[in-house]
């Protein structure tokens, strides 16, 4: 059982209203030492949720605790142990990477200079280079280097791989994989790119239109979600199958998507006179798209 003290992140009934967007009744828990992928389409509310987590935006209502600190009031103490990198974060363009390293080192005594230099070499960053001369990928890597070298307890990464070329993305994800070997490290990784999230996360939370629509461990998702192709002869009707969230028929063929797959479903179909042709595992992207589509259609409401 998870106690409150084991939770790195805890949202309870959190809401925030803007003129054209509402973040509604967010409940979210992340255990220390876990890697959570936070997936949503553009404008779904990922960044707003993360900004509330960081204390940069104050929630209208609800409780937020991060590493035992109540947000936003204890944000200064909390942020000492949080490393935050977001896609829309920029370092000072007229200063060098080395100046940024010295600046961060003056704030965080835990800053590991040797590790920072090692990361610079691995990311092909030159400390004497000014930020204005860096490519987008290099800027993201520089921001990540500054954060990783502090060895924060909680890493909050808001779309860090957005806009990166495949090589830079792989380098960034590779470095994050290295960081994951430290089991005490907690990572919250938001992205609309499910492939990136799938590579490194052990739990997944989906958000859509300002609401958390599903949350659970990644393997559980991949095990539970299936797409079944069933031959349904005329006069036969399919039995009610648990967790069916999408059903599309063309002639005799019906394609079912379920989020609660059980091998016994095959027997249920057979007993009803239908034949199951295929049972396909779904990728995280397919699960995400199906989940969002069904919620929007109100199937799971």
């Amino acid at each position: 059982m998870t106690t409150n003290t084991d939770l790195a992140v805890q949202f309870a009934g959190v809401g925030k209203k803007y003129p054209h967007f509402t973040l509604d009744d967010i409940h979210l828990e992340q255990e220390e030492g876990s890697i959570m992928g936070f997936i949503g389409a553009n404008g779904a509310g990922k960044s707003t949720t993360i900004r509330i987590l960081m204390g940069l935006v104050h929630q209208d209502h609800g409780m937020v605790r991060v590493l035992g600190h109540t947000m936003p009031h204890q944000q200064a103490a909390a942020k000492f142990d949080i490393g935050y990198v977001s896609e829309d974060m920029r370092l000072y363009r007229t200063a060098t990477i080395d100046w940024h390293m010295r600046f961060i080192r003056s704030i965080y005594p835990t800053f590991d200079q040797a590790y920072a230099e090692q990361l610079c070499r691995r990311f092909d960053l030159k400390p004497q280079q000014k930020v204005k001369g860096l490519s987008h990928g290099q800027r993201v890597k520089a921001a990540l280097m500054l954060v990783l070298a502090r060895r924060p307890r909680l890493l909050v990464l808001d779309e860090p791989t957005t806009g990166l070329d495949p090589i830079a993305r792989q380098e960034v994800l590779g470095e994050l994989m290295q960081v994951l070997s430290d089991e005490r490290r907690t990572i919250l990784f938001s992205s609309h790119n499910t492939l990136d999230v799938e590579q490194i996360s052990d739990s997944i939370t989906f958000i859509d239109r300002g609401r958390i629509i599903d949350s659970g461990d990644k393997e559980g998702y991949l095990d539970r979600w299936r797409r079944m192709r069933v031959d349904v002869p005329p006069g036969v009707s399919l039995p009610s199958l648990p967790g069916t969230i999408q059903k599309a028929s063309t002639g005799r063929i019906t394609v079912l998507t379920t989020n609660s797959f059980d091998p016994a479903m095959t027997a249920l179909c057979r007993d009803a006179g239908a034949t199951v042709h295929n049972i396909d595992r779904m990728t995280l992207e397919e699960i995400f798209v199906a989940n969002v589509a069904s919620r929007r259609e109100g199937v799971l409401a």
């Binding site: 940069l56 200064a76 974060m89 920029r90 007229t94």
Partner: protein
């Protein structure tokens, strides 16, 4: 309040604005030299340059430390550091005021020394110049106040324009206050109650503007 973090953020702004500080110091020193060394015409050109240096520095500071920081998306980086928004606001106020005070003190003290020590200088101008110097400090604080509260280039520009127009208006009005007008071109420095009252009111305005900025900013809930 984490004063060590505030100190580090102030030092950061000092470093990032180092060329502006150096430029305004060099510009101020050159304008002072022109005032002293180039005769009567040079005296007035030098005064205009001195005012220009301070006006440009005050306006440029607020824009580059607040608006540019937001526009170039550095704010997310700064606010990811272990600070609250109150500490961020405090650091911005201190950085701007301290940076501005360096050339301001140089220029104002230079002007006053010239007025008191230069051969043939009109000593009676000392209260008037002090009032106008203090006005530039008030104007810079007002620009900072508007810029921090609105974080808008448009409002900052409006504040800069109002501050500049205000300089001419205040200069004209103060020069026509009977007590000041009667003595400003005299050979003696005469601080009457009107002059002292205006200078005190100006410094009170500085405190009021900065306190107001801090209090309003402390109540903000969204920073990005």
């Amino acid at each position: 309040m984490n004063f060590n973090m505030i100190r580090l953020l102030v030092l950061k702004d000092w470093y990032l604005q180092r060329w502006l500080i150096i430029g305004s110091l060099v510009g101020g020193a050159m304008a002072l030299a022109i005032t002293v060394l180039t005769g009567k015409a040079g005296f007035f050109i030098g005064l205009i340059l001195l005012v220009t240096v301070l006006v440009v520095e005050g306006a440029q500071l607020a824009v580059s430390t607040v608006i540019t920081e937001r526009k170039e998306q550095n704010l997310a980086f700064v606010m990811s550091l272990p600070i609250s928004y109150r500490e961020y606001t405090m650091s911005k106020i201190l950085a701007n005021i301290l940076i501005f005070l360096v050339p301001w003190a140089l220029v104002l003290s230079g002007c006053l020394i010239i007025l008191l020590a230069a051969p043939g200088a009109v000593h009676g101008l000392v209260p008037y110049v002090t009032i106008m110097g203090a006005y530039l400090l008030v104007s810079t604080c007002a620009i900072l106040c508007v810029t921090l509260m609105t974080e808008s280039q448009g409002w900052a520009t409006a504040a800069i324009i109002v501050g500049n127009v205000g300089f001419n208006a205040v200069g004209y009005l103060v020069a026509h206050i009977p007590g000041i007008a009667a003595t400003m071109f005299g050979v003696r420095v005469l601080w009457d109650s009107t002059s002292i009252g205006i200078v005190l009111a100006e410094f009170a305005s500085v405190l009021l503007l900065l306190t107001l900025t801090f209090l309003v900013q402390s109540r903000k809930t969204d920073f990005l």
